[in-house]
Assembly symmetry: C2
Homo-oligomer: 240 residues x 2
DNA sequence: GTAAAGAACGAACGGTCGTGCTTTTTCTTT
DNA sequence: AAAGAAAAAGCACGACCGTTCGTTCTTTAC
């Protein structure tokens, strides 16, 4: 969806949909209408699932919230499993739009890494996402329930972690991080504080959690940065 | 339940039950039997809820897994809400038993802090807790659903965070941590890596996550420790 | 020895779940 | 204008949900 991002990080292309979309060239008004409602359904599904979970998401409630019939909605998916899988897919695309794209044009390396993490934090507190991060909920809901939904969610988590690792390595190859830095370890720690900030924000409306996460992210990166890395950070207005 | 722990950390006594238990001195065999089955019910409820969530926990399934009647089980609680609340309470007690008690006799300060975090990590991978940490699931399931269950769960999280902060401060007053150390910030970071380790373990059976969490915990504490703090750590066999 | 108390049970309630089948409405094609 | 395809609605189903009721059996109390 975003060429710059896709070129920089080919392994983390989150838009399987756009690639596999078979024939959007048809001018059929019926299918257009169907696609539009389906998109609306899935957007609402992400919303509801962020609050009640993917299992708590019920077809009847989803239909009545949208003012459509249960059977009409159901026909779009054929099964609840399929609805769940497409909801995960839709959430991925929204995630990419709201987290990835805003930082796609930042200077690659440590600056883009920090920007990505802070974009993530902003996504958490976006009032549109009232149920918090869709994936944070989904991870924990399905982490002990084997099946296609869990697989899809786990793949998403893997992509996210890989993206952070990729950015850490990009910073390293640019000579912005000290030699001893372990990319996977640093990515683990960055992901950890972000995830916890979301949790505390949802559970206690604790604004301070974002400050703590930001402090941790900036402190660690300044500590791991070389002189050139620190220069890039301060030049981008990212202080410690 | 554990006098040493209670004396050291009066504000984090997790056993409201034992204190509020009104009259266990009755030798009524009927109530004894009732208490025993109720305990068994709640233990199983924690198990099931760790996998399917507190909302996914259904009275019918719980009853059939235990080989008792749905109505007989239901009579112990009177409502599903009450069952959920008592399940949270039971999970708290199990958490204290499995995480707190094993480190209650460790040397207070930085050594006990590290021991607590690593006891927490062991609790995550305990095969008895096949669904992972009950609370990690519950936090995310209820973080967007106001109500008594969410309140009970949030209180538990607050106690846990307060406990970590308490130990950091205990280490500080013993001169084991550098002057600039922010207890709440450090507690935030420690909780973050532990929580993520549990997530990755559940989602991907990723053993390495525990290693990363342990590395982070030990590295940070060594980095924040004074000479005396480092001496205490190495004396306790906690290397970096 | 009889009455009260408590635990456990089976049956049933109204409601919602996911899921099929049939029909109606809407749009495109000829 | 007629025919046909796709979207949406209507209706009904079996299963399970939390919950209530009346009953049985065992244990304590008078």
């Amino acid at each position: 969806m975003n060429p710059a991002t896709a070129a920089e990080n080919p392994e983390i292309a989150l838009t399987a949909e756009t690639a596999s979309d078979p024939a959007p060239e048809t001018q059929d008004g019926r299918r257009l209408r169907g696609d539009r409602t389906k998109r609306a359904i899935l957007a609402k599904a992400v919303d509801l699932a962020s609050v009640d979970g993917l299992e708590g998401l019920s077809i009847g409630r989803l239909a009545s919230e949208l003012g459509v019939s249960k059977s009409g909605l159901f026909a779009h998916f054929g099964s609840k499993l399929e609805l769940q899988l497409e909801t995960v897919q839709t959430a991925s695309e929204l995630f990419e739009e709201q987290v990835w794209q805003p930082v796609a044009d930042r200077e690659p390396g440590v600056v883009q890494l920090v920007a990505l993490m802070e974009s993530w934090l902003r996504y958490f507190r976006d009032p549109d996402n009232d149920g918090g991060c869709f994936f944070s909920n989904a991870y924990h809901e399905f982490d002990a329930r084997p099946g296609p939904v869990r697989d899809a969610i786990a793949a998403q988590k893997r992509r996210w972690m890989a993206a952070i690792v990729h950015h850490v390595k990009a910073a390293s190859t640019r000579g912005q991080l000290k030699a001893g830095t372990d990319p996977e370890q640093l990515a683990f720690e960055l992901d950890a504080v972000g995830s916890l900030a979301n949790s505390l924000w949802q559970l206690e409306n604790d604004e301070k959690a974002f400050g703590r996460a930001q402090t941790a992210i900036r402190t660690w990166l300044h500590a791991s940065a070389t002189a050139s890395g620190r220069r890039a950070l301060t030049a981008a207005g990212i202080s410690c």
